[in-house]
Amino acid sequence: MPGTSSHSAMTSRSSERFGKWLVSAPPLVYLLFFFAIPSLIMVLASFRTPGEFGGLSPLVEDGRLDLNLDSYVRFFTESVYAQIFVKSVWYALLTTLFCLLLAYPLAALIARSPKKYRDLLLLLVILPFWSNFLIRIYAWMIILGPNAAMARAVNGVLSWFGHEPVALLFSSFAVLVCLVYVHLPFMVLPLYANLEKHDQALLDAAQDLGANGWQRFRRITFPLSLPGVYAGAALVFIPALGIFAIPDILGGPEDSLIGNIIKQQFLETRDWPFGSVLSIVLTVAALVLAGLAAWVGRSQLGTRSSGALSRA
């Protein structure tokens, strides 16, 4: 009967909806308690007054609500913070650029290698994740240390030219090298995922139509890989912007980034409102830049990307 079937269809549809909620509820609850609420607490903290011995002074004092813009005013008036902020963006951009330059050939190589080796090569790319993040940073202390082979080689060459020896460790060089090293897999993986789907027939067609190797890359492979480039750039740029452990361990006194200042505000200076302001500015900046990249990406690819990777 038609009535029965439509009734059972409705029940199955509502039970399907219930099932969806059941599956998505735990992550939603998790995000609510450990992301949304803490973020709101941080926003609120940014408008409060620091306590005399750190932390926050009472929200309500003498019957009035103590909320002010003092910490925001401080960020925008003391130029040192804006400078550190700009430097952090610059480091993150450099990290993204070097990651892209290193990861692109690597991802292309993996995507073009025989299928049976691809999984192994990908495993090698993510292998560093198997050891602790901090341990890997400390390892760079040894690699770049003054008595290690690299520093000796570099200074040996420099002394040939009568140049004073330089320290590799505790420098912006060390910070950048490690930033690139840590974030490289995040660029390789989305690029590989994109390049692996490219249709060889398009390259054959381009070659048949007169394009040499470089022209095939510039006109076909690279434009079609842009979604992967954008994804990788976002995955590298955003974490690189907020990192503090690497400058802490490998950087010199001049290499403090915005992440270090935030950590300092919370753990050392104990100025929670100002730390909150810095965090909010960082988050907003990351969101704006990511949104801008997505917008540029979409307007460049347009609706064309929909069929870009299908084999037609």
Partner: protein
């Protein structure tokens, strides 16, 4: 001198010989088709002409020049790929302009050439669209326009119509013939579809197992197949096999299995006793309701008197046999009747349903007489 000369070309992949000692000469302005089943080597041959693969032996000459040292991008040869291979991130105009840009055509000349190519393939007004906004037939036209815009010496087409539905395919076939006439570029066309090959080509090379089985004009290939493979592959064909019992006077007689003596016009000098075959197209067989009594005489094939020495009389030059309709297949314009002889030979026959309101001439079980003239079949030694 032929425009494109393939001389003794072989290509081996391990133990497998994909292309085996193939020699073909293709003339300028020709619509040439490589026809064969999948795995016959036709696509490998095409890829070697394009430069994506190199022959192990032999040479490929274009205008007398050996192409061996030229990579694909430096050959004046363009390919239309089966999957079209349109660049998804470029508009139709961008796709067609691409080979012009690669050829360093002055930017000012590009738009006019793109427009001319769009006109050639009837896509005026589609220039700003992107490949995913086009139908299969339109994509096909873009691929052809893109390959033709630089006026290559040879256009290679790799099963270009395979992905289109039957009606569109026929339309595109007609357009391809007209386009080829219009632009006058040599087409080398690869297909496994024998009707397509017959419809389009000036000449066809039928390939099997890496070798060219027969190379000729479509009508010759259809009417006079030189091998059992060609007879069987091109169109429907009855192959009547048996030992040769007589030959001479331009007529060969074979004792066809399950049928009896069958006479066929052939100038071939064959010694008796050697086995041979007659390729007989279904539409060449005349079928009529049996005039003699059904049942009693059907055990014996209808034997007419032996031919007189001159062998010219129409009735006497005909082959006559009786049989029973065992199956029929109504195809709309024609009906296929399978007729079995008492000795178990099955012949495929064909009758056009041209009579008004006529859907069928015979039913299963009907006794029928088949006849065909000596020159209806073709003798294959």
């Amino acid at each position: 001198m032929a425009l494109l000369e393939i001389q003794n070309v072989s290509r081996r992949f391990g133990d497998f010989t994909a292309v085996d000692q193939v020699s073909i000469a293709i003339e300028a302005g020709e619509f040439f088709t490589l026809l064969g089943p999948s795995g016959c080597g036709k696509t490998t041959l095409l890829r070697m002409i394009a430069g994506f693969d190199l022959p192990d032996d032999g040479r490929i000459l274009l205008n007398g020049e050996d192409l061996a040292d030229r990579p694909p991008e430096q050959r004046p040869v363009r390919t239309v790929f089966q999957s079209y291979a349109l660049f998804p991130h470029m508009s139709v105009e961008g796709n067609i302009a691409f080979p012009l840009q690669m050829a360093k055509t002055p930017a000012a000349e590009v738009p006019a050439k793109v427009q001319a190519a769009l006109e050639d393939v009837r896509l005026i007004g589609f220039g700003k669209r992107y490949p995913h906004e086009l139908s299969g037939g339109q994509k096909q036209r873009v691929a052809i326009g893109r390959a033709l815009v630089t006026h290559p010496a040879v256009l290679l087409l790799d099963e270009p119509l395979a992905a289109l539905d039957a009606k569109l395919r026929e339309e595109m076939q007609i357009e391809l013939i007209n386009l080829q006439k219009e632009v006058g570029i040599t087409f080398v066309y690869v297909t496994h579809d024998q009707t397509e090959a017959l419809a389009l080509s000036h000449r066809i090379a039928v390939m099997n197992k890496g070798r060219v089985e027969q190379l000729d004009q479509p009508a010759k290939i259809y009417s006079f197949p030189t091998s059992r493979f060609v007879a069987d592959f091109i169109g429907k064909c009855n192959l009547l096999e048996g030992p040769v019992t007589a030959s001479g006077n331009g007529v060969v007689t074979i004792d066809a299995e399950g049928l009896g003596p069958v006479r066929v016009a052939s100038s071939a000098a064959v010694t008796g006793g050697k086995s041979g075959a007659i390729a007989l197209r279904p539409e060449k067989i005349r079928v009529a309701t049996s005039t003699s009594a059904v049942g009693a005489t059907i055990a014996e094939p209808d034997r007419r008197p032996e031919a007189k020495p001159d062998g010219r009389s129409d009735t006497e030059s005909n082959n006559h046999f009786r049989g029973t309709v065992t199956d029929h297949l109504y195809l709309g314009d024609v009906t296929v009747y399978i007729v079995s002889t008492p000795q178990g030979c099955k012949l495929e026959t064909l009758l056009a349903n041209s009579g008004a309101g006529r859907t069928k001439f015979f039913e299963v079980g009907d006794a029928v007489e088949m006849s065909w003239s000596v020159d209806a079949g073709h003798f294959i030694s």
